[in-house]
């Protein structure tokens, strides 16, 4: 019997929501790691019982937890994230040089085929890899040490590496996104990197077409067509048809092209989801109506999805890592809000219902499709 396991990270703990393939009745477990910020929880595609969680707090720093039984029990593993060599500086908000300082792990990306290998995107922006199930971490410093690194500046939420996409078709190719440096690509398993931001335009930086300095909020890829990438930028929804070599805008008829998450339907590479947010100053949906927008044309033409979502007095946000899709025949879509709701649609976004309504602010949502 197929089923799904939804992994939710919140400001005050992690929650695991499980259902059978109908996705109508849910069991909720948690909080796991109560009181801690859980930026991300993700399962290994190679071993669905192996989960990794990023647990942190202002008091006690970073902890990485690992489960080998699908989230029933957890074990703290390695939490030593040391930058390679002398870390150097990036730009601070005021333009002055600022030493690279580790703050937290934003995103954990397990390898597609090795359950012991997992990547960690961190703040201040850097990429780490563990090949022993999270016990030891080594920096892939070719990214942070790119010659543009000293010019990178943090976004409002910190200078974080928040997205890592592993290309299933091209071994060694991966994409990373950093706020507010931009998108980067490696073709040699993370050893060397180059910016892939051609076509992005950002009004908030001195040179709107600069090689780096763009506040990329999220990247998404369809596994069957990894050369096509979608991007939710600070403003603008973008698309690349050549693995990031160039980008063009596909915001089209969206009510606003500001937002955080973006994701792609599991079986339809041209079906894309975003959650438009009013503006960078007003982090809530336009008109107080929570609407997911879906494009079935790979962008430009968008339709609002509202059935089951609040259409008045809704002033929550949906953060960049807080939307995902399952791979059941009828694709499920999930997202969590800063108001603590996790919504699910079992029919590709046509109808929505809350799984839970009153969690702490949701930071991340991932789903595992279980056979």
């Amino acid at each position: 019997m197929s089923g799904v396991r939804v992994l939710v990270g919140t400001r005050k703990g992690a929650f695991i929501l499980t259902s059978d393939g109908r996705r109508e009745r849910w069991e909720v477990s948690g909080p796991h790691f109560a009181g801690w910020e859980i930026y991300h929880v993700k399962g290994s595609p190679a071993d669905p019982d192996r989960l990794f969680a990023s647990q942190s707090s202002s008091w006690s720093g970073q902890v990485i937890q690992r489960s080998d039984d699908g989230g029933v029990t957890w074990e703290p593993v390695g939490n030593r994230f040391s930058y390679d060599g002398a870390p150097g500086t990036h730009q601070w908000y005021d333009g002055t040089p600022h030493p690279w300082e580790f703050a937290r792990v934003w995103h954990l990306e397990p390898s597609l085929n090795d359950p012991d290998t997992v990547y960690a995107g961190v703040e201040d922006a850097g990429l780490f890899r563990s090949t022993d199930g999270g016990r030891q971490w080594a920096e892939l410093s070719g990214l942070r040490c790119h010659n543009s690194g000293p010019s990178w500046q943090p976004g409002a939420g910190g200078m974080c590496l928040h997205t890592l996409l592993l290309d299933p078709a091209e071994p060694g190719r991966m994409f990373a996104a950093i706020s507010a440096a931009g998108a980067f690509r490696s073709d040699d398993a993370g050893q060397t990197w180059r910016p892939v931001n051609r076509g992005l335009q950002s009004e908030g930086i001195p040179d709107p077409d600069a090689e780096v300095g763009h506040c990329v909020h999220r990247l998404a890829m369809h596994q069957a067509r990894p050369n096509v990438l979608y991007m939710q930028k600070h403003w603008d929804v973008m698309r690349s048809d050549d693995a990031g070599e160039s980008w063009h805008e596909v915001s089209g008829d969206l009510p606003t092209d500001f937002g955080f998450p973006i994701d792609v339907h599991a079986h339809e590479p041209d079906t894309v989801y975003v959650v438009p947010i009013t503006s960078d100053a007003e982090h809530f949906p336009p008109e107080g109506k929570l609407r997911v927008y879906r494009s079935r044309t790979g962008g430009d033409e968008w339709e609002p999805l509202t059935r089951g979502l609040p259409q008045e007095h809704c002033y929550v946000n949906v953060l960049r890592d807080a939307m995902t899709v399952d791979s059941l025949d009828s694709c499920g879509v999930y997202f969590g809000t800063t108001g603590g709701q996790v919504y699910a649609s079992a029919d590709a976004g046509d109808n929505w219902a809350p799984i839970v309504r009153d969690l702490p602010a949701v930071l991340s949502v991932e789903v595992q499709t279980l056979s």
Binding site: F33, A34, W59, G61, Q62, V63, P76, N79
Partner: protein, 98 residues
């Protein structure tokens, strides 16, 4: 035995109920207590002081005998009451945040 009291979130992380009792060989200092604590509970490494250099994390404080020891030298000897176990060594999460 040295008695150590941890904040609730670190007790949960290390699966500890109540106080910890530690045997410390040699001079009883903040460093020797934390070294012993981390050797018994390795998951606490990096959560009280940095991995590199042992610097106290900003929002963690150290108290004993109604004294704030947070700014004392890590190798300074601790009060006799801590050494005998009459008073606990308190690791405290500072009152900050929400």
């Amino acid at each position: 035995m040295i008695r150590v009291v941890l904040p609730a979130h670190l007790r949960a992380l290390a699966h500890i109920n109540g106080e910890v009792e530690l045997a410390v060989t040699g001079p009883v200092t903040q460093r020797s207590i934390l070294d012993s604590l981390e050797s018994h509970y390795p998951m606490l490494r990096g959560t009280i002081r940095d991995h590199d250099g042992g610097r106290r994390r900003a929002f963690i404080r150290f108290f004993a005998c109604e004294l704030d020891l947070s700014h004392e030298q890590p190798d300074a000897l601790l009060p006799a009451a801590v050494v005998t176990g009459a008073e606990p060594y308190l690791i405290v999460g500072a009152m900050a945040g929400g």
